[in-house]
C-alpha cells in the first residue's frame, strides 16, 4: 500500500483504495467526491481530456489541503488522488475521501477540498472537443491575478 494519502497517478483510480485510507474506528461518516469526465459543457461536446500536473508540487499542495482540513476539522482524516494523462468520458479524474466521527463535518470538509483543488493545485486540463482543443483555466471563474499571483488568502 502506498505511503502517502495524497498522490498523482497515471492509472485508473480505484475508489476503494482511497476510501480505505480514511476508514477508522473513530469515524462513522465518510464523504467522497468523485470527479468524472463530462461529455457536454455548455453545449460543447468533449471527446476526451488530457490532464497535466506539476507532479511534486501538486502532491505537496494536495497534502497541504489535508493539513488545512485537519486545522478546521481536527477529527477529520483526508485522502486525495488525482489522475493525469489521457482520460475518456466518464473516467474518474479525482477522488477525495474525508472521514469524520459525524456526518456534517465529512460533507463540509470534502466540499472544502474540491474547492481548494481548483484554487491551488497545479493541475491543468486540456479539452479535446470535436472542433478543436483548449487548455482550460480558471474554473473558479476568479479574476486573473494582476500581479501574477493569487492573494495570500488563496495560498495559505
Amino acid at each position: 500500500m502506498r505511503q502517502s494519502d495524497f498522490w498523482i497517478t497515471k492509472n485508473t483510480i480505484s475508489i476503494e483504495s482511497v476510501v480505505e485510507k480514511v476508514v477508522r474506528p473513530k469515524a462513522g461518516a465518510i464523504d467522497t467526491f468523485i470527479g468524472t469526465v463530462r461529455e457536454f459543457t455548455k453545449g460543447k461536446r468533449t471527446l476526451f481530456l488530457e490532464y497535466q500536473a506539476y507532479v511534486p508540487m501538486a502532491e505537496k499542495k494536495l497534502t497541504q489541503i489535508g493539513t488545512e482540513i485537519k486545522q478546521q476539522w481536527p477529527d477529520a482524516k483526508t485522502a486525495i488522488v488525482h489522475r493525469i494523462g489521457h482520460l475518456d468520458i466518464t473516467d474518474i479524474a479525482v477522488v477525495i475521501a474525508v472521514s469524520t466521527p459525524h456526518r456534517a463535518d465529512a460533507f463540509e470538509a470534502c466540499r472544502y477540498a474540491i474547492e481548494r483543488i481548483k484554487e491551488i493545485v497545479p493541475i491543468w486540463k486540456k479539452e479535446h472537443w470535436e472542433d478543436g482543443t483548449m487548455w482550460i483555466g480558471d474554473q473558479k471563474e476568479q479574476q486573473t491575478y494582476p500581479g501574477g499571483k493569487p492573494s495570500e488568502e488563496d495560498l495559505t
Binding site: Q52, Y54, A93, K149
Partner: protein, 77 residues
C-alpha cells in the same frame, strides 16, 4: 543557473517544457517580463509563479539553483 518549468498553454506557446537560464539572481516580475518579450507569451501575465514548489510573489528574488515554475490558472478536479 535558474531552472524554469513551463506547463499547459505556456509550454505549448514556448515550445518547451523547461528552460535553463544563466542568471544568478532576478525577480519574478523581471523574469516574466523577459520571457514575455523573448517568447511572445502574453499569457504569462495570468500565470502564478512557484519557486522550489511554493507560490511566490512578483518581487521575490530567484537565485542561482532555484527551480521556477510558471503556473497558468489551474483546472484540476
Amino acid at each position: 543557473m535558474i531552472h524554469v518549468l513551463l506547463f499547459a498553454q505556456l509550454q505549448e506557446a514556448v515550445g518547451k517544457d523547461s528552460l535553463e537560464l544563466q542568471f544568478t539572481s532576478i525577480t519574478v516580475s523581471d523574469l516574466k517580463q523577459m520571457l514575455k518579450e523573448e517568447y511572445n507569451v502574453l499569457s504569462i501575465d495570468q500565470a502564478m509563479t512557484a519557486i522550489n514548489e511554493e507560490y511566490a510573489q512578483g518581487d521575490t528574488v530567484i537565485r542561482d539553483g532555484d527551480t521556477v515554475a510558471f503556473i497558468p490558472p489551474v483546472s484540476g478536479g
